[in-house]
Amino acid sequence: MRTARASDLSMVGRLSDFPLLDAVYVGTVRSPVSRGAIRSISVPHLPRGYRSVTADDIPGSARIDSIGASVPVLASGRVAYRGEPVALIVGPDRLRVAEAVSMTAVRVDEEPASFGYEACESRRLVAAYSTDSGSVDAALAKAARVVDGEYRMGPQDHYYPEPQGAAAGFDYDKLIVFSSTQWPFQARDAVAQALGVRKDEVVVRTTSLGSHLDGKLWYPSLLACHAAIAARLSGKNALLLLSRTDDFMYTTKRAPTLVSYRAGLDEAGKLVAMDASVMINVGAYAPFGAELVERAAKAVAGAYACPSLRVAARAVSTDLPPMGAFMGLGTGPVAFAVERLAEDLADAAGMDPYEWRAMNVARRGDQTLGPPLRKGAPLDAVCDRLLAISDYPRKRSSFELIRKRRPDPSSPPGYGIGLAFGPQRPATALSCRDAQAPSVEVTLSKDSTLTIRSSVASGSGAVTRIWKRIAATSLGLSPEAVEVATPSTDEVPDSGPNVFSRRIGVVTRLIGSACDGLASKRFREALPITVRKSQRARSAKAAPESPLDDASWGAAVVELELDPVDAAPTVRGIWLVAKAGRILSREDAAAALERDAAVALGLCVAECLDLSDGPADPGDLRRYGLWRIKDAPPIQVEFVDDDAEPKGIGELAYSLVPAAFANALSQALDSPWNALPTCRRSEGVDDDS
């Protein structure tokens, strides 16, 4: 059998295509229970060429510590969730490895497990963030109307186009790791830590990411450690591929979130106080727990001005697999909640939902989130266009008439249209181990080709084309002369994680700046010339900024109709308008938003997962309904002209469409709908046969 050096494998697109040339497969032995002390791990007799790996065999650190939590590479002593990796079986035949895994017995002294998070015991609290401004209690006491609301978003799967995995192999003294990761430098550091080697002895090459919904921020690093350890101990290339079932059951999911509000309005309908609580179920270990609660807390007021605001956001650890990011860290469920609340507040005030928003939107100078807003939230600019193209005002009035005048009040009205408005916060650094200064490099070669280097894998053809166009225009080249290097940590600078629209918001700007720098040197210095640009960290002395400054903004309208028998909603249309700075490619941006809106809607009505009684099982995967592209309704996307620097739009649809959908559904049912996905209504009810 041929032996390939890992460095021969420069381009691996999909992990499942990793060439098997003399490689070993890595199977994962997992905890059978959710919580307890490991009593023993009994591995069957393994033939020659096969071996087992436990925590004791890890050459370096047995934990990954770089993600705001300490996650064991392999559990040792105790297990914290069912499915937690306890050992690895490594060998040349995939089926024999799988057989050995199934025959390995992990005995655990099982302890009672806890999956609930809404009523938190203090020992389960892993992260908290709170703010308190103004006089919330006094303002609520004086308020003309007080509205209480509880809004829930359940766990959901990222359903990656390829189940997760990793591959690793040695190229002389360096270990090359292939990983489908949003954060290759984080993976590199985790692997180096686990192997007990220097960072420059490990190279991570990013494989195709596909649609990841932010689920590949840190979990790929764990798998990379497993593959790397297997490669190190076996001396061969190692491939670890989760099955779809294992990926579904054991890897990160959207963190279930409960947002509770008590909000007060004055006589005119103005928001005077808000007391908000956010509870997030982060499962075991709580990576990014602090990040989740902070971002959730800062999203609680949405786009609205509130003179007295109290927020308590808590991340609660449970005995579920680690939960986490899902299109943004912590903001999606809160965006849903605040826009549902806005509708409820409008209703309490007897106002049209748009009028209520217009009255309460945060204007320039607003200090709800602390520092004064430099520019007000552009509700008018965005919604003027949105309301026109969706015909929201007329439809809403018609549906209200149907609602109020229907002959049988016990039957739902059946028609609804909902609005949502909100921001996507600018690309920011993750507080835990982010790039010191996100950087890019550009190199102009003697043959007049330009190479762009960044660790933020441009899996998007649209973004690649934008980068090439910017670079080509800046240097007077043709776009065909520009290439984007495949991210490999030994060849590209650290641009930080591919999250929060960093590619557009940060990296694109740095590329432009780097190319400008190149242009100024081009005819003065000999080729090749390399220019590196980094984003400077904000000075500690700089005036504090509102989290909403430099946000991109959007609004969505969803119209739907209910089935007269089972009240299942059919969406008739989605309209989205965004204001996100200079749009570098309208066509591509519109296509991306349309696609995101379709996926976001699918997440509202399908993709149901109930983890309230424990982790997922294979039956849950079978029942996990997936929306198809044929299910998408007509979707119209427009942009508001804006001269500001380009901003990200990747999270907008996921923040706005669920809320607009739930607002429409609430009108169509004449009853508030405060939990997504909608199929959660039937959780546990069906199984009464």
């Binding site: 596909g210 899996g459 696609r595």
Partner: protein, 161 residues
């Protein structure tokens, strides 16, 4: 058992367990990695192949059912005019794909082009939905297939459903 069939125009013969999935055989024995072995339940559609001219989920075809059939994978489909038409149409329509489902979506589009009756929009979306994909913009995919149909059918098959 011995399983013999025609694969991308060539006669092949191999020993396989009767229940071994065609998707696994194609990937592992013939190194035809265009198709992915993912859900193994006919849900994701990333393993589609043409089996006697019909687009099917190869994970739902056990080895014994493949005997005597003609199988065309993406590797074989790529040499056809239909592929060229589909690939060009997707590109021109800006229907960006992520690299995981491309081959399956192209095959699905190809099956529509090679059908003898012009499909309706609903039928196009129904066939494209055989492949579960979060990356493609629905209207772009539809536009791409319609453009491909226009350029390939060119009025040759005039009958609409």
């Amino acid at each position: 058992m011995i399983v013999e069939f025609i694969l991308n125009g060539e006669d092949v013969s191999l020993k396989a367990d009767p229940l071994e999935r065609l998707s696994d055989l194609l990937r592992e024995r013939f190194d035809l990695t265009s198709l992915m072995s993912d859900c193994r339940e006919g849900v994701c559609g990333k393993c589609v192949v043409f089996l006697d001219g019909l687009l099917v989920n190869s994970c739902m075809v056990p080895a014994f059912k493949a005997r005597g059939t003609e199988v065309v994978t993406y590797e074989g489909f790529k040499s056809t005019e239909s592929f060229a038409t589909v690939e060009r149409s997707f590109r021109e329509a800006g229907a960006e794909l992520c690299g995981f489902c491309d081959s399956a979506l192209f095959m699905a589009a190809g099956s529509l082009i090679e059908a003898t009756v012009r499909p309706s929009e609903e039928e196009i979306m129904e066939v494209l939905s055989s492949v579960y994909c979060r990356c493609v913009t629905p209207s772009r995919a539809l536009g791409a297939v319609k453009a491909a149909l226009e350029s390939s059918l060119g009025g040759k098959y005039g009958r609409a459903r």
